[in-house]
């Protein structure tokens, strides 16, 4: 098993006829991802990489049985595309574009919760279940099938962790990019819990970063997990970010510095890592 996607996932691509959509559809297919079709309104009836294109998500689902979608569209079009997908019944959505307006993502999150769908991104490198499916823009070279789950706010960190886990023989069950935007479709919490419930995942690496509040939120869930969690946070030596006005300070309090994030995670039971090579060392100690 894997979380969110595997070789049986039926994947559609929203924006499949666009430049990035075409390019990455080809790449994802090369990896063996089970892409069944795509959507571009007004281009129904065409084909990309031999996969049929539909005018709406509902039609694509009807004809292909798609249950997962990857979005390659301009940021301004993401809100409607995501709402269309979850309303039509897509249960997992990968939002690759960056610079999505924050109010749009708040709305997308609301709809996703309402329709019980999972969304990752915006600005995510995607998700990969090595050897089975690669959704998004992640470079397959770094990944090998295995027993560690990874969840990260940064694409590049994801690759380095994968590289490390592959080289040391652990490999990955699934690697999830939450995305780099300020408001994200999913937080660490939801993904951590999926890993907790996944038999194949023997440990999880959480890759966080200065700013935002999602690492702090994760400390609510880590103590409830049996699966060990390793945490690495970028920005320990970065100057602290600015608070947004008094309101930001009142709402988010002291959250946001990398050091505090790592300390809080450690306090909640996670194993802190400084650099990537700490990861296999800790895994070894834990007997993973």
């Amino acid at each position: 098993m894997a979380i969110l996607v595997d070789k049986n996932s039926k994947v559609m691509v929203q924006g499949i006829t666009g430049g990035a959509g075409k390019f990455h559809t080809e790449r994802m297919l090369d990896y063996g991802t089970n892409i069944v079709g795509g959507v571009t309104p007004g281009k129904g009836g065409q084909a990309v990489c031999d996969r049929p294109v539909f005018d709406t998500v509902a039609e694509c689902i009807e004809h292909t049985g798609a249950d997962v979608s990857v979005v390659f569209l301009p940021a301004a079009a993401v809100k409607e595309a995501a709402i269309e997908a979850v309303r039509a019944g897509i249960k997992f959505l990968v939002v690759v574009p960056e610079h999505i307006p924050i109010h749009d993502m708040l709305r997308v999150r609301e709809e996703a919760v309402k329709y019980k769908a999972a969304v990752i991104g915006g600005n995510t490198a995607g998700i990969i279940t090595p050897g089975e499916a690669n959704l998004g823009i992640m470079p397959d070279i770094a990944f090998a099938p295995g027993r560690v789950g990874t969840v990260s706010r940064s694409g590049s960190i994801t690759y380095y962790v994968a590289d490390t886990l592959s080289r040391t023989g652990y490999g990955e069950s699934t690697c999830v990019g939450l995305g780099g935007d300020p408001v994200l479709g999913s937080t660490f919490n939801e993904i951590l819990w999926m890993f907790e419930e996944d038999d194949k995942t023997k440990a999880v690496v959480l890759c966080g970063e200065i700013g935002g509040v999602y690492e702090e939120k994760a400390t609510e869930i880590i103590p409830k997990m049996k699966t060990p969690v390793l945490a690495i946070i970028g920005g320990i030596f970065a100057p602290p970010g600015k608070r947004m006005g008094h309101a930001g300070a009142i709402v988010e309090g002291k959250m946001g510095t990398a050091k505090e994030k790592l300390d809080m995670l450690a306090d909640s039971g996670a194993h802190p890592c400084k650099t990537f090579k700490d990861i296999p060392e800790i895994l070894k100690k834990l007997g993973v």
Binding site: P139, S154, S156, Y159, R167, K277
Partner: protein
């Protein structure tokens, strides 16, 4: 993107939130003329994109044009947290009876909008929030929720607005909340919302931050002269140049030039350098899928920086492709040349093609890569980081 006080007040006015009649001036002479034409005492307020203005002496009161001119001269010489004062807002001096705070922002952890209000407005609001949380009223909303007048009346009452002004205060709160939504804001604050001796409610200061990613859908902002801009921070010459080139860049005080791929490792790479005893000279991000031209420009910024002793390069091709990366590095080496040693690692999408390009370039001109130590996926990034610190030390010794 943060707005100047006077810009925020333009939005307030458009949103039916009462603001003082303001005059923006760019010189002491203009300040003199403006105040001479007014018949009342004024406040002169430095317009800068940072907080802490009051404590830095950025606000002055004047009874007449001469005094205004003297104050303006001081203000235009002032730097507030490094920001030079280029414009001063002149407004009638307010006769303040009470100060309230009203703000709206986003609670990212819970995916909500939050309205915050207090009967104790002013610069100490954060302290109030910490020491007397009971003096702060908070209310959360889903992004589609409307704020109704009755809820605003309730909030106004809880922060101590007098009965006769409840409806007016509620109207201001509702309009502020609407403005937050209409303009895709990240933050809107009226602080203080002043109750004057004449029982008027007026927004004495504004703090507004909009979502740069949503500016495209608000054509009226451009009409008001409000364009997409970066967050606050005074820029060095090099930062300005980088901004012109569209490259996120920040000068630091170390000596290792950071040439990373991806914002995530851009930040964490700095930590790695520190862990191995070095100090980075900068932050940098290539942005998603950079062109060879941009890659070349990133290297120009580092190579021309006299503080940089060595360059640390790291590229893990994701949406950014290694072939484009290699093209950019080769373009830089050919057109500009490298004046300091560089250690780099390249892997990820299209890495084979990238390696091929480097090999071809080397065949063409064997000296081209002589200052570059090149690594692939086989070398862990920690080793590269260590090596960069070593190289910088060696340069320092020279």
């Amino acid at each position: 993107m943060r707005l100047y006080e006077f810009e925020g007040k333009q939005l307030f006015r458009k949103s039916n939130i009462p603001v003082p009649e303001g005059h923006l001036v760019s010189s002491p002479a203009e300040a003199y003329n403006t105040v001479a034409s007014l018949k009342h005492a004024v406040a002169l307020k430095a317009q800068v994109l940072t907080g802490g203005r009051g404590k830095a002496g950025g606000v002055k009161l004047a009874d007449g044009p001469n005094e205004a001119k003297t104050h303006a001269e001081q203000l235009f010489k002032l730097k507030i947290k490094g920001f030079p004062v280029e414009r001063v807002l002149i407004e009638p001096k307010l006769d303040i009876k009470q100060e309230f705070y009203v703000g709206v922002t986003i609670d990212r952890a819970n995916y909500k909008l939050v309205l915050i209000a207090s009967g104790e407005g002013g610069v100490d609001i954060e302290e109030t929030a910490e020491k007397h949380p009971e003096k702060i009223v908070r209310k959360s909303f889903s992004v589609e929720d409307e704020l109704f007048t009755f809820d605003a009346v309730d909030i106004a009452k809880k922060i101590g607005v007098p009965g006769a002004l409840l409806r007016k205060a509620a109207g201001i709160i509702v309009n502020l909340y609407k403005m937050f939504k209409v303009y895709d804001a990240k933050l809107v604050e009226i602080n203080p919302l002043v109750l004057t001796a004449g029982d008027e409610l007026i927004a004495a200061d504004s703090r507004v931050s909009l979502d740069d990613d949503a500016v495209f859908r608000h054509a009226d902002l451009k009409e008001m002269g409000i364009e997409k801009r970066h967050e606050e921070g005074e820029m060095t010459e090099r930062e300005k140049r980088a901004t012109e080139w569209g490259i996120p860049y920040l000068d630091l005080d170390g000596d290792i030039g950071m040439f990373p791929g991806g914002a995530g490792f851009g930040i964490m790479g700095n930590d790695f350098i520190h862990y191995y005893g070095g100090k980075p000279a900068n932050f940098m991000d290539s942005g998603g899928g950079p062109s060879p031209e941009r890659i070349a420009k990133m290297l120009v910024l580092l190579d021309e920086n006299p503080n940089v002793k060595t360059i640390f390069g790291a590229r893990f091709g994701g949406i950014s492709r290694c072939d484009d990366f290699a093209k950019g590095v080769i373009m830089f080496l050919k057109e500009h040349g490298l004046s300091k040693p560089m250690v780099m690692r390249m892997t990820g999408n299209m890495w084979r093609e990238g390696v091929r390009l480097f090999e071809e370039a080397k065949k063409e001109d064997p000296s081209l890569m002589e200052k570059v130590e090149f690594h692939g996926i086989e070398t862990p990034i920690e080793e590269i980081s260590k090596r960069a610190v070593e190289l910088a030390r060696q340069q320092g010794v020279k």
